[in-house]
Amino acid sequence: MDFDLSEEQRLLKDSVDGLLKSSYDFEQRKKYATEKGGWSRSVWSKLAEQGLLGLPFSEEDGGFGAGAVETMIVMESLGRALMLEPYLPTVVLGGGFLRRGGSAAQKAAHIPGIIDGSKTFAFAQLEKNSRYDLADVSTTAKKQGDGYVIDGEKFVVLNGASADTLIVTARTKGGQTDRTGIGAFIVPASAKGISIKGYETQDGLHAADITFSGVEVGADAALGNPEDALPLIEQVVDDARIALCAEAVGAMDESLKSTVEYLKTRTQFGVPIGSFQVLQHRASDMFVNLEQARSMAMFATMAADFDDAKERSNAVAAAKVQIGKSSRFVGQQSIQLHGGVGMTMEYKIGHYFKRLSMIENTFGDTDYHLKRVTDNGGLMK
């Protein structure tokens, strides 16, 4: 049992935090949000220069062979900075599909572009009626010659309007919610038949609704088995959930810091409001929530590479429940304790609240994951 970071992990943390400190304060973030697509290419290049975009890839693929702990470290820091750049869709999701399910040729074709920062990805999965069920897929990929023709609609695709490449889930056979017959395909965003409607999301990120009509791809577009990619999809989405848990911990950590700072400086009735016990206790409860969430984010991180997929997904679901509950408490109370200023678009605390709220509803909310843990018979063996 060991909770310490290794020397290398500490250096990684210092390097990410250093970068964010110099180029990602809240005012700079506002400026990045106005750039094309709502994020900064120059920040993205810096992430590439520091090797952060290549972390999880194996050394033979040109990466650093880092594990889930390293991703946790990065995501927590990005969460603290409320980063807008598409790390999750590109490195965690796109990269996850490639490194866990890609052929040698697919890896060679796509991983270098992720690592050097020249290409970003998006994961086109959500459909109008699928909600959080990854097996609920209506988009079709019909065999045509050697390749496939993709038809369907995907929604709230994070980084969908900026991405160079999409990973698209589509059904190759079976009914709408069958667990088999689902494929995951690599599709260039510029392919004929794709139309993309981009928009800003509540938390200042960007997403898109994407329509596929008669989009033709080759046989080499399929990641793994085109008729049985659900286990791959579930594993990569679990990677994303784990990363989101860490991001949420970073955002909560910063929310609490900022709130405590406010309690110490805001005066009313002639004293700092932090001297009032009712507010002290609320802040203490925020701390308890944060630390419980941190513990579960670590738990999920350790589960990332469990051999048993069921055990992994159960652990990740449990973590997402805790993170969801804690995020709600910390997010809401941060606003409450800031008072009126917490309601303003200009001040940063509300933006943390909004990001935490969106994380809760990404890849399964608290109720959804609680039901999963329940159906698995709980956590105790």
């Binding site: 579960m296 670590m298 738990f299």
Partner: protein
């Protein structure tokens, strides 16, 4: 970072588990599983079994009977003990007065008291709270005045757990009434057989008698029963209360309780099927399991940090353990109420205040009532929030 136990730690866990499987008296195990009170003799016998094995006071220094285990091993030991389930050795001796004597006592005190604590030759109780001094402990009024070779003690302690069994009590007494409140207090050991001590039981809402009032009326206590320096008792008390917080999460006990809940919920019917198949009940249970897992990891993080705040100084984050640990313990007693439903109602009592003779189903409501105490004792959960606000958040 690696949250799993190492090979050596797993081997250690198996060794401890095997020992408990083979040595915990079945009658004690049964009583604990059914939420009954154990007797004085149960705990004395069990502590002596542990002491014979050399495990009664694992956290003490090796020269005084400790094991030299790492914090992780200590943690594993406590977890396995609670899950067995077996009763932990009496905390007032091994976790409270023992470490105070070890750290601040004289050589004579160490030599006399420590082996007797480890072997349960003496049953200790804690004389801290008073009717007017609960969370504001430093306002205590019990006095000890020097007269010849003795302290003369007068006053009243309350909420004294299991004082009815006790041979000794460690007391905070005011020895300098002119000093400001924290600085005039001394830590004194008092023989419960002394003339002038009266113990009066307090019946609690569950119908049991765990706590007592203890009255001191001109009780003569030898001067050498003072621990450490005169008027430094508050420092020793803070040291003691800090130690109390580290073992308070009771993760192992809650795990055992959840196992028990699942077992009972599978046998009790509701609407033609076991309660365990009710979706709402299952979700409540799963929710608690998740919180318990989070607490277990938080506790492991605190354990891994042990010593980083200086010897004997608890990690302020250990206040989380008290708050969440007691929340979860209470939640498990609520779930048991949900399981038993209308059959929670029958009340069973006997003259002893011990519930040994009654059917176990009658223990569920009293267990629920009784466990409201866990968010009050050991520094109430509100006091823990004060500690977090001050020591962690700097408010």
């Amino acid at each position: 970072m690696d949250l799993s136990l190492s090979k050596d730690e797993l081997a250690f866990r198996d060794e401890v588990r095997t020992f408990f499987n083979e040595n915990v008296p079945p009658s004690m195990k049964q009583k604990l599983r059914e939420g009954r009170h154990t007797s004085k003799q149960d705990l004395v016998d069990w502590t002596r079994i542990l002491n014979k094995k050399g495990w009664a006071v694992p956290h003490w220094p090796v020269e005084h009977g400790g094991t030299g285990w790492t914090p992780v091993q200590q943690y594993i030991f406590n977890e396995e003990l609670q899950m067995a389930p077996a009763q932990p050795p009496l905390p007032f001796g091994v976790n409270m007065v023992g470490p105070v004597i070890l750290t601040f006592g004289s050589e004579e005190q160490k030599k006399y008291y420590l082996p007797r604590i480890a072997n349960m030759d003496d049953w200790w109780c804690q004389g801290f709270s008073e009717p007017g001094s609960g969370s504001d402990l430093a306002s205590l009024k019990t006095t000890a005045k020097k007269k010849g070779d003795s302290w003369i003690v007068n006053g009243q302690k309350t909420w004294t757990t299991l004082a009815q069994h006790a041979d000794w009590i460690f007391c905070l007494c005011r020895t300098d009434p002119s000093a400001k409140k924290q600085s005039g207090i001394s830590f004194i050991l008092i023989d419960m057989k002394s003339r002038g001590i009266t113990v009066r039981p307090i019946k609690t809402i569950d119908g049991g008698v765990e706590v007592n009032e203890v009255f001191f009326d001109d009780v003569e206590v030898p001067l050498h029963n003072l621990v450490g320096e005169e008027n430094k008792g508050w420092d020793y008390a803070k040291f003691l209360l800090g130690n109390e917080r580290t073992n308070i999460a009771r993760v192992g006990m809650s795990k055992e309780r959840i196992r028990r809940i699942k077992e009972l919920a599978s046998s009790v019917q509701s609407g033609g099927k076991p309660v365990m198949e009710d979706q709402k009940f299952r979700e409540k249970l799963a929710s608690i399991e998740i919180e318990l897992k989070a607490l277990e990891l938080t506790q492991m993080r605190v354990v891994a940090n042990e010593g980083k705040y200086g010897k004997g100084r608890p990690d302020p984050a250990s206040s989380i353990l008290k708050i969440k640990g007691s929340d979860i313990q209470q939640a498990t007693t609520e779930l048991l109420m949900d399981v038993i439903g209308p059959f929670a109602a029958p009340f069973a009592s006997d003259d002893e205040g011990s519930n040994e003779i009654s059917d176990w189903t009658t223990q569920i409501a009293p267990g629920y009532f009784n466990y409201r105490k866990v968010s009050i004792y050991g520094g109430s959960n509100e006091i823990q929030r004060n500690i977090i606000a001050k020591a962690v958040l700097g408010l």
